[in-house]
């Protein structure tokens, strides 16, 4: 039996009818058309579905949509501001920190949460912050370099 809920995603409110057992990931992708967040495993192990809930990174495949009611949700679609890329996005392009791009939205959201909480991380702290994000293409080092570079850009 569906419930009407309001979700605030990237600052915009959406009113939708959801089943109580629907995940936030499925609602974002299938109901709101925000397909930037990806499903990689469905069990919270790969990080491709990472979004920010009240600024904290969560695996949206493990979160019920109803539990996001009344809370700020931020997805990759909201990372750039009015067409201007976020320094993380600029750094990822500059350092070539992605190839197929499938894990990238999740990695970027996890990186944003990391830098919001710890603006000047060490390389080790970056690795710890991103250990929940799998990438099969890059070998990870460029991701670390890009996040480090973005951190310096955000907080010189």
């Amino acid at each position: 039996m569906k419930t009407l809920i309001t979700l605030r995603v990237n600052g915009t409110e959406h009113e939708i009818a959801v089943e109580p057992y629907w995940t936030l990931l499925d609602v974002l992708r299938e109901k709101l058309g925000l397909t930037g967040t990806k499903k990689g495993c469905g069990t919270g192990n790969c990080g491709a579905c990472t979004v920010l809930l009240q600024g904290r990174p969560v695996s949206s495949c493990l979160l019920l949509a109803v539990d996001a009611r009344g809370k700020d949700v931020n997805t990759i679609e909201g990372l750039a501001h009015e067409g201007n890329l976020h320094p993380l996005q600029e750094a990822f392009i500059k350092y070539g920190a992605f190839q197929c791009g499938y894990c990238t939205p999740g990695v970027l959201m996890a990186s944003k949460a990391l830098l919001d909480a710890n603006p000047r991380p060490s390389e080790q702290e970056v690795k710890e912050g991103l250990v929940g994000n799998l990438c099969r293409c890059t070998g990870y080092n460029r991701i670390v370099q890009a996040v480090m570079a973005a951190s310096k850009e955000l907080k010189p």
Binding site: E19, D26, R29, E30, G33, L34, T35, G36, T37, K38, K39, G40, C41, G42, T43, N45, C46, A48, T75, I76, E77, L79, A80, L85, Q89, F92, I93, G96, F98, Q99, C100, G101, Y102, C103, T104, P105, L108, K127, E128, L130, V131, N133, L134, C135, R136, C137, T138, G139, Y140, N141, R142, I143, V144
Partner: protein, 766 residues
Amino acid sequence: MAAYTYLGKSFPIVQSKEKIIGETLYAGDFRLQNMLYGKILHSPHTHARILRIDTTRAEALPGVKAVITSADTPGARCGRFIQDRPLLALDEVKYRGEPVAAVAAVDEDTAADALELIKVEYEVLPAVFDPLLAMKPSSVLVHKDSESFEPRPPRRNGKGNIVDEFSISQGDVEKALSECHVIHTDSYRTPAVHPGFLEPHAAVSVVDGSGRATMWCATKAPFLIRAHTCKFLKLPLSKLRVIAPTVGGDFGGKGTATVEPISLLLAMKSRLPVKLVLDRQEEFNCVPLREAAIMQITLGARKDGTIHAIKGQIVLDSGAYNDTVGRVEGSATNLMGVYRIPNVDLQAVLVYTNNPPRGHVRAPRAPSPVFAIESHIDMLSRKLGMDPIEFRFKNIVQDGDRVTGSKSILHPVGLKPALLSAQEYIKRESPAGGTREKNVGWGVACGMWATRPVGEGPASSAWLKINEDGSALLITGVTDNGGGQLGAYSQIVAEVLSIPYESVSVVSADTGVTPYEQGTGGSQTTYRVGMSVKLAAEDARKQLLELASIQLEAPTEALDIKESRVFIKTMPERAVGLAQLASSSLHSHKGPIVGVGREQREKLVSEMMAHKVDVDMGTYSTHVAKVHVDPETGLVKVLKYFAAHEAGFSINPDNVKKQIEGGVVFGQGFAMSEEVVVKDGDTVTGSLMDYKLPTISMAPKVDYVIVEIPSTFGPWGAKGVGEPPVVPVAPAIANAVYDATGVRIRELPVTPEKVYMGLKGNRNTG
């Protein structure tokens, strides 16, 4: 050294901005009006006869629009090599996980409910899971009807469950072994592993009122998907258009038609669009994994350290269907590694079992035998009392050596410089004075990967449209799964035509639009497709110069193009813009300018036949791993990693670096953490919790050196590098663990448990 404007530059990959803002659509992101969701019913049995399938209750469930079984298909079998696999199980299921039926419903939940309402009656049959048992004539047969499978190419020696066998011999091995000063014999095992792409298999299919179908699917080979789908569903090729949008990683695993034809059949039956996406558990169960291997090697050397003889066998588990595993020569020859060995007796056997099917995974047929031989070389060198690197120097193949068992000559061979730079790296990075760090070890391994297939597969072709504003549109069948091919080929067009890189657009991977392409992979895409793109651009350039020569009243030899203008070399102020040429041609009797390029395969083949040289055959590499082993827990940490790779000219140097960096960590998974555990046909690893892909904390920083040896026939001497970095990683790490601890791991992956048990108990357990 030529100065290029666009070649040799590291442009960001095409679609960078779209990927970074989450705008790029992968197959599973597509949504069509009134789209249904498909789900597959999998066999719960490893081997069983299907007595009856009752779909009536599923069909009656509200929201279900189609239910299919093999009865809805002509029952055809497909495969890239041997055509043994049906789309949905026919009279028998051959492995646990085999697709038996499928449904399409208004949402995923309804589809899942419908699967539970399909009643299948099975009669369980005996099954075989161990390839060593399956090889025996007395074994249970996986396919009683295997003689009727269409072999493509011809199936050799296959008897019973044996799919294929290959032997290579030279000299007199038994006599040679008796002449050896030192002999080492050992066995090795490698598990089945998944390609590990983050994007699961996905297909969205729709059929229009005239019966024409369009399918967007995650594949690296849209033309193969079209061919196999049409065979599975008995459709004329002209009725199906297959488009590969951006693919979220392929690594060999998206080159065969599994879920795609199922989505289309559901769309045909329901007369609505259908999206079918596999979940991660299904990924481990019904799509091809790298075959598990069981290997034995006996290697003998003379007193002076020259290898004198090798005897060995590799048995490969094909699973229930061979599909893309192909023939086994490569597995046998890779057991020899990169060494000169005068006396050889090697055998490879590929066997059907009732395990899930096996197929291509990045660098097919190489990582397992190379793990064996490179571990083995290390042990033999130590038995001889020789340094493992010096032992390798003494025995590696050289440029001009004859390929074992063939008349061909190896050329070029960049192995010596690769090994040298590896040796220098270790010297540079090791503590001064030669002191050994506690619990730390160094390991070296050499690899070879054949990046050029001569005579195999269709030649590549490309088309280049010149727009009336002087910009260009490249039309190519290739897919870009992250490797950066589309951008690199745009660089080729920009260079040949001397137009801005940004003015080149690409349309790709669409069977309804682009020329045929066999698929991205085999580390030969740039070698073949890059060449056809270069030739298409040169053809367009020729047409532009011919037009300009009329307008400028000068012969074409006197002209050149720079920055979108054709000019007379001796009078550069006499010029005409490409836009003007293209536009005026368009409006004249000549019509639009289109360049056509076809990879000159006949030229390559005839040159090779003439010289009997295995030109551009392999690229060589040497890897070094420095590891730390925690004696309390057996945990292995890769502290440093170095890769020396032979590569040709780099059209986009960053693309090359990325393949090495990514390929090493890909190989590290095979070495240290990945294993699809299958017990009695039951896939135990069903999630990314159980199946450990390398994480950011495992991955070392990869230092590398390129040994630049141009290819003879690739565009500007380019050659492939996508797969070579995967090949020697496992033995480099295993050898480093041995160096640190004296524990020899013979069975991958090198896990803390195995290292710990080795440290505590028998030093030589695997």
